[in-house]
């Protein structure tokens, strides 16, 4: 008998598959190595483990919520299906010509990433829509039939259809789909007007092709997963986390698998948003640092910031432009190559550089003693006293500080005439500065001032660096939640059912057409709501309205939120005022006398976010005194200090400790810099704030 209070969250990551079982207020979690050839095996294994821990029979699980990097990995590793593209004559090479630019200006031997489909997989057909949706050249059924017979004969499994201006008029794409259904019924079909109905052919075609490319793989995986979970007794509905931070049905996920790209990190952002809600925080910077990358996301009013386009599969040092664009609703995150395994070297200007190259788990940082000779961030952390060599990962990986010192000395110290300790300081400062710069740029791009923000830090390496990052960013307070090691999987359990529908359609405010706006937004609402309704037949569904606006002549549009009333009874003056307010917040001023235009319309249908119980305030207990002390380097003062050492499990609610301090647990270590103090909150969060802020 299924029990509504029992749910399972599953996150398939690159190394580990995290499984979390929630029973009422209790959480049970485990990490299992990801099984690449049959990812469902790790899930089954993990499920049995948490069921055993909790003494719960799999049959009692009422929902499974799943996120996975499989879609992303299939794109990175090019392991998709044999896919054909049908596009407008004259535009065969859109995905190959990209933006016609080089993402790295100074590399004469630059290699552009190859397009997802080779040229002989890209077919054209005689037809053309005009920018306003009028048919410029009709599409003839006979031409489609000939073309599809050719594609069928070549043995394609999946077909992407991307025709010019189909975001305004999809009639030709639908006609192609009709003929495909007749003459090639076994093929999986992806239409650009359905996958990503947005202007800009490169982004739209690439997104549609990516969807088509991973569809057979994801469909078969999801089918197998459902069957096997049922065989193991968990015959409950399965939902998928999507990149926008909500969940959709398994059937919709199989139809639009490109929406699953980046679902893991999205879960992390939802996790942070939930912690923010519990603590009543309206401005939060989530900071997730693992082994190879760090991810930073702005969370305002307990909702992660979203975007319409992002880039996956970057091929060149995480450089912008070296991957491929995917235009779907997504949680807006900055990802940089900075993690515990990131390697350091000295460049030709005698500067220390860190990442994006990573030591991975083999050989790993020098201190793992598995043959790594180059210093990684973890080596610096060890030498600076942030890690206990005997107690890393709960004591499972003994760390060799001498190896770290040697690597730091030979690779950084000798060329720069510094000792190992100063080299470690330099390495840590450089990686922290890289992350701080990424956060600053992201904040500026969004018109935000980070000094008003609270940081929520999770992921294995984050608590080691978050304190210093706060100092650099002028952030007064940060929280390190419990369960941070499986944050994404917990986030899945907190996500609402949601689906965002987008459409490109130009409208100048000087041609403001209120009835057309009402109709368009309503169409989008109906479309988005239907997706959510398929997950939950009864729940209340809210619609969130957003339009993207800019001054005519600009190339960058900014999102403007509308209330339900503003969307139902659109009014020119209100639209103008809302835009100017947002524009001024971002860029400091408005531009007089310029016409404003709307380019993209968006409706997000969502079930309400889960209600949260606010965390009770705790009275601080007297400062803890500790028997153990550790020499800890404090970067802000560039000096070694004697730090108190305490077990996280010993910090009961209200327990306080003053920096410099080190709070240890199995999964990670929290560093409290000299400038900060820490207090344990009622929900197990460690709250670290500036001593100056409350003295």
């Amino acid at each position: 008998m299924q029990d509504k209070s029992i749910r399972l969250g599953v996150d398939i990551g690159g190394t580990f598959t995290d499984v979390v079982l929630e029973h009422g207020k209790e959480l049970f979690s485990t990490k299992v190595l990801t099984t690449y050839t049959a990812p469902e095996n790790a899930i089954i294994d993990g499920m049995h483990r948490v069921c055993q821990q909790s003494g719960i029979d799999p049959a009692r699980i009422s929902q499974i919520i799943h996120g996975t990097t499989l879609a992303t990995n299939a794109l990175i590793e090019r392991r998709g299906a044999k896919t054909a593209l049908i596009t407008t004559e004259g535009f065969r090479d859109v995905i190959e010509m990209r933006t016609e630019s080089r993402f790295e200006q100074y590399d004469l031997n630059l290699t552009l990433p190859p397009p997802l489909l080779p040229r002989n997989f890209r077919y054209t057909i005689d037809e053309r829509m005009q920018a306003d949706g009028q048919v410029l050249k009709p599409l003839h059924r006979a031409d489609i039939e000939t073309l599809i017979d050719e594609i069928n004969a070549a043995g394609f499994e999946s077909v992407a259809v991307g025709l010019l201006h189909s975001y305004v008029n999809d009639a030709h794409e639908r006609l192609v789909a009709e003929v495909l259904a007749e003459r090639m019924p076994q093929a999986m079909v992806s239409l650009s007007s359905q996958v990503s109905p947005q202007m800009r052919e490169y982004e739209r075609f690439n997104t549609t092709i990516a969807n088509a490319y991973i569809k057979p793989l994801m469909k078969s995986y999801l089918g197998r997963l459902k069957g096997q979970l049922a065989d193991e007794g968990a015959d409950c509905p399965i939902f998928l986390m999507h990149s926008g931070g909500g969940i959709i049905s398994l059937e919709n996920a199989a139809e639009f698998p490109v929406r699953l790209v980046e679902s893991g990190p999205a879960g992390g952002a939802v996790f942070a948003a939930h912690i923010a809600a519990r603590h009543g925080l309206d401005k939060v910077l989530s900071f997730d640092m693992g082994g190879t990358t760090a991810k930073i996301c702005l969370i305002k009013n307990q909702a992660p910031k979203t975007a319409r386009v992002f880039e996956v599969a970057r091929t060149y040092r995480f450089k912008k432009g070296s991957g491929m664009p995917i235009s779907i609703p997504v949680i807006d995150m900055v990802e940089i190559g900075a993690g515990g395994g990131s390697l350091a070297h000295v460049d030709s200007m005698r500067q220390i550089r860190v990442g994006p190259e990573s030591a991975g788990s083999e050989p790993g940082p020098a201190c793992y003693g598995r043959g790594g000779a180059r210093p990684a961030v973890t080596d610096a952390d060890l030498v600076l006293g942030r890690l206990d060599p005997a107690n890393f990962a709960g004591g499972t990986i003994p760390l060799d500080a001498a190896a770290s010192r040697l690597a730091l000395q030979t690779q950084l110290g000798d060329p720069l005439d510094m000792d190992a300790e100063t080299s470690a300081f330099g390495l840590a400062e450089v990686v922290d500065e890289n992350m701080a710069n990424a956060a600053r740029v992201h904040a500026v791009e969004n018109g935000e001032d980070l000094s008003e923000y609270t940081m929520i830090a999770f992921g294995g390496a984050a608590p080691l660096h978050a304190g210093r990052l706060c100092e650099k960013l002028g952030i007064a307070r940060m929280l390190v939640p419990a369960g941070a090691g499986v944050g994404s999987a917990i986030g899945f359990l907190r996500a609402p059912f949601s689906f965002e529908a987008n459409r490109s359609q130009f409208m100048r405010l000087s041609d403001f057409d209120a009835p057309a706006i009402t109709m368009l937004l309503n169409e989008l609402k109906v479309e988005a709501t239907a997706f959510v309704r398929s997950c939950d037949a009864q729940a209340e569904i809210q619609a969130q309205y957003k339009v993207y606006m800019r001054y005519s002549g600009q190339g960058w549009e900014i999102p403007v939120q509308l209330t339900a009333t503003q969307a139902k009874t659109p009014d020119l003056a209100t639209f103008q005022a809302l835009f100017e307010q947002e524009y001024a917040a971002l860029f400091g001023r408005v531009v007089e006398a310029m016409d404003v235009e709307i380019t993209v319309w968006s409706v997000n249908a969502t079930t309400p976010t889960q209600s949260v119980t606010p965390v009770d305030a705790v009275a601080s207990l007297p400062l803890m005194t500790t028997k153990t002390q550790r020499a800890l380097f404090d970067p802000a003062t560039a000096a070694v200090a004697q730090a108190s050492e305490v077990l996280r499990s010993d910090m009961t609610p209200g327990a306080c400790i003053a920096g410099p301090a080190v709070i240890t647990e199995d999964e990670t270590t929290i560093i409290v810099p000299t400038s900060r103090r820490a207090i344990a909150l009622a929900d197990g969060c460690i709250d670290i704030s500036d001593k100056g802020a409350d003295l």
């Binding site: 016609e100 052919e201 002549g553």
Partner: protein, 574 residues
């Protein structure tokens, strides 16, 4: 952990952090400009730059943007501002402006804004930025002017704002002289805001690290950059070589000649012997020539060293006055990029002799840009909805093949600008781009094939006619190969009824007609006989080369060709 490190060490680490920070600050500055600018070339194509300077005008950091054309020009510009305004006249709240082609970045269409930075009422340095703006009056953007006076409004170096007060007279003069005054004034303010953002970040950094001025960090950046650059140059074998290349020009073909020498502590490009001025606006002020010559050398010798005063100084560029690469006032210079973008190919012709197996073969060179001016048709009634519109597009031919790699298809080099989506272009005005796709057989054959150029076909919506302003080169002078590689495909342009058109200048396109363009390919590298069979088959299967070219240029037999085409049709991957 051992004893505390000596006192000077943390400062080295902190200087490293500050250098990183300054680079991040100028990138932030540039990003703000991309998002607020109205100019198509800035927002879509990244034609802008931003930098931070010490109080002597030494550039400390510069954003890496879409164009190397501003690289040295920006580094030099601030010195002109210091000289013209006078240090004694700097005040907090000042904003300086110019579009002087010779003291800015090479043509009137680039506006440069420089803002002095004050910290605790003390002058500490400058922020500068430049953007290519929509219109500056005159004849409009194109090569047709006979002197710079016809190319638009000239703004000498002067104060745009004096102690926070904007010069209203100047704004009125600007507004009265350009076609899109709101956009232009909007762009000037966007430039000023972008410097303001940089300034705020700089002051935060100085507070965080307790700096009173930029002397220490400037020394650190400049001395490390200088020694790293000199180390690279001094590792090369000294020597001298001559290189040259010929392009179409406007009135007559242009020869770029360069004498390149690698010496101790410097590399010198001397353009002695280069053609004289053209009558029309493709002449290039020396600042812009320097930028591209220097860019070409830096790519080859010191690609990873950030641009600043010290890393650029060892690359010296000179040219006799009133050669086409050192045009003096009042030569017309609006399309100086047509010559400037060819400079790297000339420099590489010389460098290839000094550093074999390093530089690419010639490529398309200058961007394949054109502007269309659409209007309701004449000669018959135009429909009511017909309208006027200006549409500018940026497009690229193929880049030259490299010693170990093929050239890049339809990818700009040396410029780094982006193209615009066709769907976005067609929203701007009643233009129709019927075709934008790779041009088979345009990549020069060789051990490594040149990058393919592209086809474009442009028409107008029913009821419109238009003028096209062509800005193309390599019609008569296609890209030359290196080390035995073949030439790339030449530019062609004409109407769909067969009428031949010119590669440069404004030309009329009647109602119902289309302009058919084929943009040039890059040249090949090395003898074609050394090309691997697998690559030839892949090119044939993908249609990068035609069956005819596979037979003639690459020597494939007809059975292999038929078999390859059949396998390609069957969906095989090559």
């Amino acid at each position: 952990m051992s004893a505390q490190p000596p006192a000077n060490y943390p400062s080295i680490v902190q200087y490293q952090v500050m250098w990183n920070r300054l680079i991040s600050v100028v990138e932030e500055q540039a990003q703000a400009l991309v998002r607020t600018a109205f100019s198509t070339s800035v927002r879509e194509a990244g034609d802008l730059s931003a930098g931070v300077y010490d109080q002597d005008g030494n550039m400390l950091a510069q954003a890496v943007t879409g164009t190397p054309g501003h690289v040295n020009a920006m580094a030099d510009a601030v010195a002109h501002f210091i000289r013209r305004i006078g240090r004694e006249n700097f005040a907090e709240g000042d904003i300086y402006i110019t579009n002087d082609p010779w003291e800015g970045t090479g043509h009137l269409h680039d506006i440069t804004i420089v803002t002095p930075s004050f910290y605790d009422e003390v002058f500490v340095g400058f922020f500068g930025c430049t953007a290519h703006i929509v219109d500056i009056g005159g004849r409009g953007f194109g090569a047709d002017a006979n002197s710079v006076y016809e190319e638009g409004l000239y703004i000498p170096i002067m104060k745009f704002a004096d102690r926070g007060v904007v010069d209203k007279t100047l704004v009125r003069i600007i507004r009265g002289n350009v076609r899109e005054p709101d956009q232009l004034v909007g762009d000037v303010y966007a430039l000023a805001t972008c410097n303001e953002i940089g300034h705020r970040r700089l002051i935060e950094m100085m507070q965080e690290f307790g700096l009173a001025d930029l002397t220490g960090i400037a020394d650190f950046i400049l001395s490390n950059s200088r020694s790293a650059t000199l180390e690279r140059i001094n590792a090369l074998t000294p020597g001298t070589a001559h290189g040259e290349m010929r392009s179409d020009g406007y009135s007559h073909p242009v020869d770029l000649k360069v004498r390149l020498s690698i010496e101790k502590n410097r590399m010198v490009c001397d353009f002695e012997g280069t053609s004289g001025l053209d009558k029309k606006g493709i002449n290039c002020p020396l600042v812009y020539t320097k930028a591209y010559a220097c860019y070409a050398l830096k790519c080859a010798v010191a690609p990873d060293i950030p641009n600043n005063a010290a890393s650029l100084a060892p690359f010296e560029v000179m040219a006799p006055e009133n050669t086409i690469v050192n045009a003096l006032h009042p030569a017309p210079v609006a399309l100086r990029h047509v010559i400037g973008h060819m400079v790297p190919d000339a420099v590489y012709a010389a460098l290839d002799q000094l550093l074999p197996n390093m530089v690419p073969a010639e490529g398309a060179g200058c961007l394949c840009n054109f502007q269309v001016s659409l209007r309701p048709r004449t000669g018959a009634p135009a429909p009511l909805h017909a309208r006027r519109a200006e549409v500018l597009t940026f497009n690229s031919g193929g880049s030259g093949a490299r010693p170990t790699l093929d050239g890049m298809n339809a990818t700009a080099f040396p410029s780094g600008v982006m193209t615009m989506p066709v769907e976005a272009t067609e929203q701007v005005g009643p233009v129709i781009i019927w075709r934008k796709e790779l041009r088979p057989d345009s990549g020069g054959a060789g051990r490594h094939r040149g990058g393919l150029g592209q086809y474009m076909e442009v028409g107008a919506q029913e009821g419109h006619e238009f003028d096209i302003q062509a800005m193309f080169d390599r019609v008569n002078h296609p890209a030359n190969g290196r080390q035995g590689g073949d030439i790339g495909g030449a530019t062609t342009i004409g109407l769909d009824d067969g009428t031949v058109m010119r590669g440069k200048g404004k030309q009329f396109v009647p109602h119902g007609r289309r302009v058919m363009m084929a943009f040039p390919g890059g040249a090949g590298y090395g003898p074609v006989a050394e090309r691997s069979r697998a690559e030839i088959l892949r090119d044939l299967a993908g249609g990068y080369i035609s069956p005819q070219a596979a037979a003639q240029a690459y020597g494939l037999d007809s059975d292999t060709i038929d078999d390859t085409l059949k396998r390609a049709r069957n969906g095989e991957v090559f």
